[in-house]
Symmetry: C2
Subunit: 196 residues, 2 copies
């Protein structure tokens, strides 16, 4: 199946598709192939505690492609705990953001890959859920981890290609997802504290 | 240091502090101790592709504490790719949300733990950055992973306690953070696709 899909993509003109600027996408890949150092990126965030369990994160700049960049607008994100966990429920929980990150990462990849393969999408939806036993966080059971014990994602995808080809696109996006990699394989996190 | 901190907290009256409803927090922990099954939670999200790399996630309900819950308001989150990655930059990147999730999880925990220990906070700020080499995602180098290669967090905390005690609070929050656990240790993710 995969070779057929690739051949089809190569034969089709590289026109913008699914709202993806496919010619620029391929052009960017060609540039990076020639200068691999352009692929090194750094993303950043700055969080400030508000009150209770509410905090606010500012996301503004990042580096990559050989330089510094600013998002078109500065983004502000908030997080809080719900009432049942003694918060004021003014924003999603931090761990709910992980579900959003995973679903949106795979979905953005699906749009790019479908466009690259000449497939017009009509619908991409996903449901995602994570199970967590708070006995870990509460320190009440040493055998229970703090985080999710498992996450399940179910994708529904429609477009002008056979089901097998649509499934391949989802699978390819999962296989290249930055968030899927981090969540399933973990990442080293170092932390420093300036107190006083 | 830790035993002293605990003794101090036990002696102090359990009043709301830092905007945290400490009496209810301790009451909740007592209830869960008696009925550990109440600690089982499930969080959920539903994502829908919009166009290009933009998608939108709805976060509304979750289960836990023996029942179903709805957030006070339904939350909508978006994610997109920036212009340099051929997106329209209408929202943060999915992997930027991971940074927000981590910083806000540890910060919410800091507020709760400080309140439980009778410490009034005046400032909690954190800067967080993640390095990623997109050669992995682009499929241009087999030795390069898709996700972050490392994440660094630096916390700055101020309050009415000695620096050592403030540092202990940050460390305890890290040690009990659901997002820190997921990001550093990984979590099993299962995925299904309904195509056509």
């Amino acid at each position: 199946m995969a070779p057929t899909a690739t051949q089809t993509a190569t034969r089709r003109p590289r026109l913008p598709l699914n709202g993806v600027d496919t010619p620029t996408l391929f052009g960017t890949l060609d540039v990076v192939k020639a200068q691999p150092d352009l692929a090194k990126f750094q993303f950043r965030a700055r969080n400030r505690w508000q009150n209770g369990t509410l905090s606010e994160t500012a996301i503004g700049t990042f580096s990559g492609a050989g330089g510094e960049h600013a998002h078109k607008t500065a983004f502000t994100l908030t997080a809080d705990h719900p009432a049942v966990l003694v918060g004021e429920d003014r924003a999603p929980l931090p761990i709910e953001y992980l579900l959003h990150a995973l679903a949106s990462c795979i979905t953005g990849g699906i749009a790019n890959i479908a466009a690259a393969r000449g497939v017009t999408l009509t619908e991409v939806e996903s449901r995602i859920e994570g199970d967590i036993d708070l006995l870990g966080i509460f320190g009440m059971s040493k055998g229970v981890r703090n985080g999710y014990q498992g996450i399940r994602v179910s994708f529904s995808i429609k477009g002008d290609a056979p089901p097998e080809k649509l499934q391949e696109i989802v699978e390819q996006s999962r296989a290249r997802s930055a968030v899927f990699d981090v969540l399933t394989n973990g990442v080293p996190v170092s932390m420093s504290v300036n107190a006083g």
